[in-house]
């Protein structure tokens, strides 16, 4: 009998993240295609409440153990390996994010099972799961199949999370974990980034700068525009690495995932790690000197040109407009 399709939920610091619901949407399609139940797997310590909104799945397998308080490779990896060996699912969707990184890395080895990385999509073909994986920084896509059980590392944004966060409480099966191994990795603490007083995930407008902004002085032009728009300045990783903006302003895989009404990408090329963090913004306008920049595949409107020129002109335009309104 073919096994079930699993989605491993991403829960971190007491919350289930959106990517879980995206995976449930994808998982539902695959499960239906394979004709098997969809099960959500939650690993935590005293986090039963986390299962409440996972109704998109048919059942929830819930593991509760002190060792699962933090998602380390050894704890989550061992727990999932044990569970998979016991229950034998045919496919497991795991979220590919910074939070799940460590255990997603070791799980395939612990199980001796195939693993497909960078999945942006998957479908069922002839009763098997076929994944579409992004390679070479997004420059190539590969369609890949494998033996079973298969683990798919799925990138955020593969499906929409909307409608998957269910009010319905699914049946929960609590599974006992057998593990008394002394941990070699011990969690100490979280280190929060300095808050610049601004939470970019709460802004409705973000003027986001990348390396193409040129130098730190040009940030002022971006700040002016952000102020005129009633928003804030954020940045891609290179700008934060240079020290031009604090860590709390970083958008992307290691930074924040944002969904503002307007995301103005200035001098950002559109590398996948950045796009992951902003692709669901309502309106994306990109300015870049390179017409081939991948950001233009994600943006709604694009301008090939000099950043500072366009930003200054836009600020001036907005000031005129508000003057007209005021008058």
């Amino acid at each position: 009998m073919a096994g079930n399709l699993w989605v491993v939920a991403e829960n971190w610091r007491g919350k289930v993240s959106d990517v879980t619901y995206e995976l449930l949407a994808l998982g539902r399609e695959l499960a239906d295609g394979l004709g098997v139940p969809l099960e959500a797997v939650v690993l935590s310590h005293q986090g039963r409440a986390l299962t409440h909104e996972l109704g998109a799945a048919d059942t929830v397998l819930y593991l509760d153990h002190p060792s699962l308080a933090e998602p380390t490779a050894e704890s989550y990896g061992a727990a999932l390996a044990q569970l998979m060996q016991a229950r034998k699912p045919q496919g497991v969707l795991v979220p590919l994010s910074n939070v799940s990184w460590d255990w997603v890395g070791v799980l395939p080895a612990m199980l001796g099972a195939p693993y497909l990385n960078f999945c942006k999509d998957a479908r069922v073909v002839d009763g098997k799961i076929e994944a579409c994986c992004l390679l070479y920084g997004g420059k190539m896509e590969a369609r890949v199949v494998s033996g079973s059980p298969v683990i798919l590392g799925v990138l955020p944004g593969a499906r929409s999370a909307a409608n998957r966060r269910m009010e319905k409480q699914p049946p929960v099966e609590e599974v006992k974990l057998e593990s008394e191994k002394t941990p070699e990795v011990t969690f100490k603490q979280y280190i929060e980034p300095e808050q610049g007083g601004v939470d970019i995930t709460q802004q409705s407008v973000l003027v986001s700068v990348g390396r193409g902004i040129g130098n730190q002085e040009n940030l002022a032009v971006a700040e002016e525009l952000a102020a005129a728009l009633g928003g804030a300045v954020s940045g891609s990783r290179p700008v934060i690495d240079q020290g031009w903006l604090p860590l709390s302003r970083q958008v992307g895989k290691s930074g924040a995932t944002v969904k503002p009404k307007l995301y103005l990408a200035v001098g950002i090329s559109g590398a996948p790690e950045h796009v992951e963090g902003m692709k669901n913004s309502e309106l994306i306008i990109a300015i870049n000197t390179d017409p081939q920049a991948p950001i233009f595949d994600v943006a709604h409107y694009g301008i090939v040109g000099d950043a500072t020129d366009t930003l200054s002109a836009l600020t001036a335009e907005l000031q005129k407009a508000s003057a007209r309104k005021g008058a």
């Binding site: 195939p114 693993y115 190539m140 980034p193």
Partner: protein, 261 residues
């Protein structure tokens, strides 16, 4: 304080990548390989550890085109040994590579036991896994990924490691040595090594060779690439043209229409 750094050559995306005639792999005619960027950070982290705590750094790479220059550059930067593993087919999956390395590393004289084995946390061609965690499991060593900082408590054989989460949050962990780390970034950007030093290393230093012991059970868990192609963009931006002033007024129109303003 001994560190082993794993270096991998990956396709250089500065060149336009093309699909080979078989439709499932990269066309190699104009393909150039470059050191995986994260591995460069791993090397830098290893060198910083050596500068702070002494000990030795060994750079290990599987044979691939243009890998010699990378190994000599590592030596020029301050690595003590450079080891090239020969007898591997190019284009190996990461799973098999981790397997090879797990079997080769113990056979190299004086390489193990090391306090740290470090590699970049990911590479752009990691289709079937990531090398650091897979290797860690094979060698039965603890593993942490997305590492950005390592501080050592060599007396207690422990290290305090900082790793990245999302939203700019970092997590601090303690790990018992020896350990395998997947590096996201070193505390400083990878150092520059002048060309003259690399050339000097090419003349005065040697790369050691190691051979892979024969494959025990013939391969990794089977995955099969059916096809490879350049991604079609789901959409493309509507491009706005004109002078900055004209563009600005068009954008303002859009913003008003969409209710942003």
């Amino acid at each position: 304080m001994n560190t082993v750094v794993l270096l991998k050559m990956v396709p250089d995306v500065v060149e336009e990548l093309e699909v080979a005639a078989d439709g499932r792999s990269l066309d190699t005619q104009f393909l150039r390989l470059i050191l995986n960027e994260r591995d460069n950070h791993a090397l830098e982290l290893a060198l910083l550890l050596k500068e702070r705590h002494g000990g030795k750094v060994a750079a290990v790479a599987l044979d691939a085109p243009e890998v010699d220059e990378v190994l000599f550059a590592a030596l020029a930067k301050g690595a003590d040994r450079a080891i090239k593993v020969a007898g591997v087919k190019s284009g190996l999956g990461t799973r098999t590579a981790a397997n090879c390395l797990a079997r080769v590393l113990p056979t190299v004289d004086g390489l193990l036991p090391a306090d740290f084995i470090v590699a970049g946390c990911q590479a752009i061609d990691d289709l079937d896994g990531m090398v650091a965690p897979l290797l860690a499991h094979e060698m039965k060593l603890p593993y942490l990924g997305l590492v950005t900082r390592v501080t050592l408590d060599s007396a207690d054989r422990k290290a305090t490691v900082q790793k990245e989460y999302a939203g700019g949050v970092h997590g601090e962990f303690e790990v018992l040595l020896p350990a395998v780390l997947g590096i996201q970034a070193a505390e400083k950007p990878p150092r520059y090594v002048p060309v003259a030093k690399v050339r000097a290393a090419m003349k005065s230093q040697t790369i050691e060779m190691a051979e892979v012991p024969a494959l025990a059970n013939g391969g990794e868990a089977a995955i099969r690439v059916l096809s490879m192609a350049k991604p079609e963009a789901a959409g493309h931006a509507e491009m706005l043209e004109g002078t900055p002033e004209q563009i600005a007024s068009k954008i303002a129109e859009v913003l008003f229409a969409r209710g942003v303003l």
